[in-house]
Each structure stands twice: as structure tokens, then as C-alpha cells.
Amino acid sequence: MEFLGLYHYWVFVVLLMIGFYAVVAKLNLIKKLIGLSIFQSAVFLLYITMSKVSGGTAPIFSEQVSGVLYSNPLPQVLILTAIVVGISTTALGLGIVVRIKEEYGSIEEHEIQEIDRQ
């Protein structure tokens, strides 16, 4: 079952598509941001899963222990940065939604477009 053997990549793809669907299809701005968050988290999982070495343990170096197989620490470090970026994006997005609510009194995309058209 090689098809299912790569199940962690399927998790990535399915999550990515769920997030992307929400970003494209939802009209509520908060729901769009939730979708964006899921979309980004899927990519975090892609990075985490690629760093796993079969049988490898946490990459904590010690002089007493030798001959241990470690997982690759670099993708995890990279994704730590990407998580920070993701949080900042979500926070800024939510901040903008608050401002939109203050100015327009709505967080539904079609209602905002309607107000702008007047």
C-alpha cells in the first residue's frame, strides 16, 4: 500500500485544500483568516514531516551518547520562523478586520462591497 504509506503527505494536501477552500469560498472575513491559518499550518506540517528520519530521535546533542540517529533539526528551525510569520499575518489580518468592522459595521465581504458601491 504505497499509496497510503505516504499518508503524512496526504494530511498536508487535504489540510492545504481545506484552508484554501475557506479562503476562496467564505465571505466572512474572519472565516477567511481561519482558512488562511489552516492553509499555513498545512505547510508547517510538510516541513515537520520531511525532517523526520526513520528511527531518529530528537536532535539534542550530547557527548555522553554516541552513535544515535537524529532527526533533521533544520526544517523545524525554519518552520519556527514561518510560524512566527504566520502569527503576525493572522494578527495583522484580524486587526484590519476590527478596523473594517469599525468603519463599515460589517465583516461580510459582499455587504462591504455593497456599501462601497453606494
Binding site: F20, M50, L92, I100, Y104, I112
Partner: protein
């Protein structure tokens, strides 16, 4: 290289990034603006210094923290980077220096320090993209600059900027995340993030699917950030409702920085390693570029808001740049790169003129401009000069790059004639939409009882800098050597893998 010169690439990022938090503390009136302008001007001088070195045949390499590549983060500045650095820092400095009066009107005094900090972060982020030679580092800088530009666009008093910036944020993040997926897949297959190292190692795994998928994700993601048609929908509203000075800054350089990464990845990393990459690249991007030119120009013909009109014109101009790149030949690519420089000059000058107008005219719709030329002849004369360059009239910068673009297209045989027809048609439409502004401002009478609008010209400083930008269009239309040499060298570097 001794002393300071060895550190030029990293200073390009460090100077604006370190000044940004300091600016937040500068509350007395005008001080934050002054500090930001000085930092931006310093960046410009650094870029000029490096341009001198690059023209003398030097390539600046810098190992961050002393860790040698490919393990550490490497910075590299060659002709392509320096061309874009000149555009970026020049546009930022000019927009800041000229924009003071306009920003004072649009940004409340107590928010100004934060606004200028965001400006410097956007500048630092974009400069970081341009000097970096590390794929993940580029992603981080891309997000720094994007987050800061969202703040800049949303900073103005127009509430319509908020939905516009929300859309910009969503689409920008999706684009950046696509890029991140592509980089992840490449890392998975090659184990490296350094672009030069990637170029060598990708060869062994080039025929495997993850690399092809990565190429797709990176190209689409960056095309989204570069507002290539049909992925441009975030751009018009973001440029229109942003504070006027921000429009000058972003219109001149934001999309071009994304195009820079796109071209670097596609030509340097993928071109030499993926079979038939040049044919696929051309087949994918050329139709989009042609559509961008035609649709962008056509929409601009019918817009009533000048800033929106110019924004749609930008969509068309990105089309010209990509069209040059999609010819995948040294003459074509160097024409495209030269057009990056020349479009930054003309669009920057046009938006500067619009900023001048905005100080005296309430709304920026065409009908509000009626008779404006009688009150502000200097502003509108500058607008005409920059508009001529946008059209591509001989003697201006826009002509030079369009001429090279047509010459390069003609080498493609029958297809080339079609492309030339597209370029000519796009330029004719540019004549029409620039004329609409000129007609409204110069040949329509001011509506009766117009005494309410404040008479007189824009502030002198703003006007002088606008004219400086407008005249640089003429200057670089006559003395083309420096940008042309940089563009040609950059194209030769990018296309070194061409069979």
C-alpha cells in the same frame, strides 16, 4: 575590498532595519519623517556605491556572521540585484522626501512615527530580498516587507483602503505560502537552501516530480505577488486607496521585487536543470504577458479615478516586463529588465504628480481635474512629461526599453511580429489613457463656482522633486548607458544556462 566596502550588502538591510525602531521614539513633529528620509537616502547612497563596483565588474559576496555558504546565510549582489536596489532605494527616498506635506495631511501626527517605522521595515525587507542568496531568507524578508506594506497601504484616511488591504493580505500570504511550499519541496530533494548550491545539486534529482511541482508552486506564488495578469486583482484597489506617497513607493518597486525572485529562481535554479524549461516558461508566461498588456491598458481606458487608471496601467507594464523575460533570450530579457527601471521612473514620476494634484484637488476623479492645469501648470506639465515616457515617445526612457523589446521580439520570426503588434497596440492605448488625463486637466473649463478649491501650485519642495523625477525620464531616455549596461549584464548572468 576593505573596511566598510566589504559590508555594503548587509548594510543595505541593516541601516533601515535599525533606524526603524528608533523612529518610533521620535515624537516631535517632523523628526520621524526626517530620520526615515535620511535612512532611506543613506540606503540609496549605499546602492549607488555598489552599482559603481558592479559596473567595474565586481560581485559583492557576504557570509552572514562569518558562516561560509552553503551552511550560513549568504548575501550576493550582482548586476541584477543592484539594478533593483537602485530602483527601490531611489523610489523610497524620493517618495519620502517629496511626500512630507501629503503625509502630514493623510497620517495623524501621533501615528506618524509608527507609520515611518513600517515604511523603513518595508524598505529593509525588500532590500533584503534583493541582496539575499538564500531561498528561505528571501521568504522571511518577503514577509517582513509584505506585512509592513499592508500597514502602509491601510495607513491612510480612506476607509476603502481597508477591504483593499485585506484582499492584498490574503493574496500576498497565499503567494508567499506557495513559494514556501516550493522551497520546502526543493529542500526535501536537495538538502540545501542556498541558491547557488541548489543550482548544482538539483541536477541529480531534476527529473523527479517534487522538483517540477516546486517549480510550479514557486512560479505561481511569485506571479501572484508580482500581480501578473490574471493574478493582479489585489493591485488596483491597494494602489488607489493607499496614502499618495505610499502609492509612489509601491508602484515604483513592490511588484518588481517579486518579479526579481521569480526570474532568479526560474532562470538560475531551474533553467539549467529541467528539460525544456525555457519552452515551458515561455509557453506559460507569454500569453499571460500579452493579456496583461491588452487587458490592463483596455481597463485603464475606462477608469475615472486617476490613481486607478495608473494602477491598471501598471498591470499592463508588468506585462511588458514579463513579455521581455518570456522571450528567453539575452536581448529580450535585458529589454524587460531595462523596462523595470524605466517603468519605475515613469510611474514614480506620474504618482508624484498625482500626489501634487492631491494637495489642491479634492477627489482624484477625471471630472474633478477640469481646468486644473490653469491653477497648477507646473504639476501638470510634469505629469505630461512622465506620461510621454509611459507611452514610449522617442527621447524619453520609456521609448528606449520598448524599442529594445521590439527589436528582441523581431528576432522570433512570425511570432515576433504578433508581439510587436501587441506592444504597439498597448502603447496606442497608453496614448489614449494618458490623453484622457491631459484633456481633462488642460482643455476642460473649470466648473462654475469653483472658488472653493484651494488655488495655487503644490508645495514647492514636492514640485521640485516631481520635476526631478520627470526630467530623469528625459535624461535616461537620452543617456541610456548605465541602466542598459546593468540590464544587459544581469540578463547575461541570468541566462548563463541557455543552450
Amino acid at each position: 575590498m576593505t573596511g566598510l566596502e566589504a559590508h555594503l550588502p548587509v548594510l543595505q538591510v541593516v541601516v533601515p532595519m535599525l533606524v526603524a525602531p528608533l523612529v518610533v521614539l521620535l515624537h516631535p513633529r517632523g523628526l520621524a519623517w526626517f530620520a526615515a528620509t535620511v535612512a532611506s537616502a543613506a540606503s540609496f547612497l549605499l546602492a549607488v556605491q555598489m552599482a559603481g563596483g558592479v559596473l567595474a565588474g565586481q560581485v559583492y559576496r557576504y557570509a552572514l556572521g562569518g558562516w561560509p555558504a552553503p551552511y550560513g546565510i549568504a548575501l550576493e549582489v550582482d548586476a541584477f540585484s543592484v539594478l533593483l536596489l537602485l530602483i527601490l532605494t531611489g523610489a523610497s527616498t524620493l517618495a519620502l522626501a517629496a511626500g512630507r506635506a501629503s503625509l502630514d495631511r493623510q497620517i495623524e501626527l501621533h501615528r506618524q512615527p509608527l507609520f515611518f517605522a513600517a515604511w523603513l521595515l518595508a524598505l529593509a525587507g525588500m532590500a533584503g530580498i534583493l541582496v539575499s542568496a538564500d531561498a528561505f531568507n528571501i521568504f522571511v524578508f518577503m514577509e517582513i516587507s509584505s506585512l509592513a506594506s499592508y500597514v502602509l497601504v491601510a495607513g491612510g484616511p480612506d476607509r476603502r483602503a481597508l477591504p483593499a488591504v485585506f484582499k492584498y493580505l490574503i493574496m500576498g500570504t497565499v503567494g508567499a505560502t506557495f513559494y514556501l511550499i516550493g522551497v520546502g519541496l526543493i529542500y526535501m530533494m536537495t538538502g540545501t537552501l542556498n541558491l547557488a548550491d541548489m543550482e548544482l545539486r538539483i541536477h541529480e534529482v531534476a527529473d523527479q516530480r517534487p522538483i517540477l511541482v516546486a517549480a510550479g508552486f514557486i512560479t505561481i506564488g511569485l506571479a501572484l505577488k508580482a500581480a501578473l495578469f490574471p493574478l493582479h486583482v489585489w493591485l488596483p484597489n491597494a494602489y488607489t486607496y493607499a496614502p499618495h506617497a505610499v502609492s509612489v513607493f509601491l508602484a515604483a518597486c513592490a511588484t518588481k521585487v517579486s518579479l526579481y525572485i521569480l526570474l532568479r529562481f526560474d532562470f538560475v535554479v531551474f533553467q539549467g536543470n529541467l528539460a525544456g524549461h525555457d519552452a515551458q516558461f515561455a509557453a506559460f508566461l507569454m500569453p499571460l504577458a500579452v493579456l496583461a498588456i491588452l487587458v490592463g491598458s483596455a481597463v485603464a481606458l475606462f477608469e475615472v479615478n486617476i490613481k486607478r487608471l495608473l494602477a491598471y496601467s501598471s498591470v499592463a507594464q508588468i506585462g511588458y516586463i514579463v513579455l521581455g523575460a518570456s522571450l528567453v533570450s539575452v536581448p529580450g530579457l535585458s529589454a524587460g529588465l531595462l523596462h523595470m527601471f524605466n517603468h519605475a521612473l515613469s510611474k514614480g514620476a506620474l504618482f508624484l504628480a498625482v500626489m501634487c494634484l492631491s494637495t489642491r484637488v479634492g477627489d482624484l476623479n477625471l471630472q474633478d481635474l477640469s481646468g486644473a492645469a490653469r491653477r497648477m501648470p507646473w504639476t501638470l506639465a510634469a505629469l505630461v512629461v512622465a506620461g510621454l515616457s509611459l507611452i514610449g515617445v522617442p527621447g524619453t526612457a520609456g521609448f528606449v526599453s520598448k524599442w529594445y523589446l521590439m527589436t528582441a521580439a523581431l528576432q522570433e520570426g512570425l511570432l515576433g511580429w504578433v508581439l510587436v503588434a501587441v506592444i504597439v497596440l498597448g502603447s496606442l492605448m497608453a496614448v489614449a489613457y494618458v490623453w484622457r488625463i491631459v484633456e481633462a486637466a488642460w482643455f476642460k473649463d473649470a466648473p462654475a463656482g469653483d472658488g472653493a478649491d484651494r488655488p495655487g501650485e503644490a508645495p514647492l519642495g514636492m514640485l521640485v522633486l516631481t520635476w526631478l523625477a520627470a526630467l530623469s525620464n528625459v535624461w535616461f531616455g537620452l543617456v541610456t548607458q548605465v541602466p542598459r549596461e546593468l540590464a544587459t549584464t544581469a540578463a547575461a548572468i541570468l541566462l548563463r544556462h541557455l543552450p
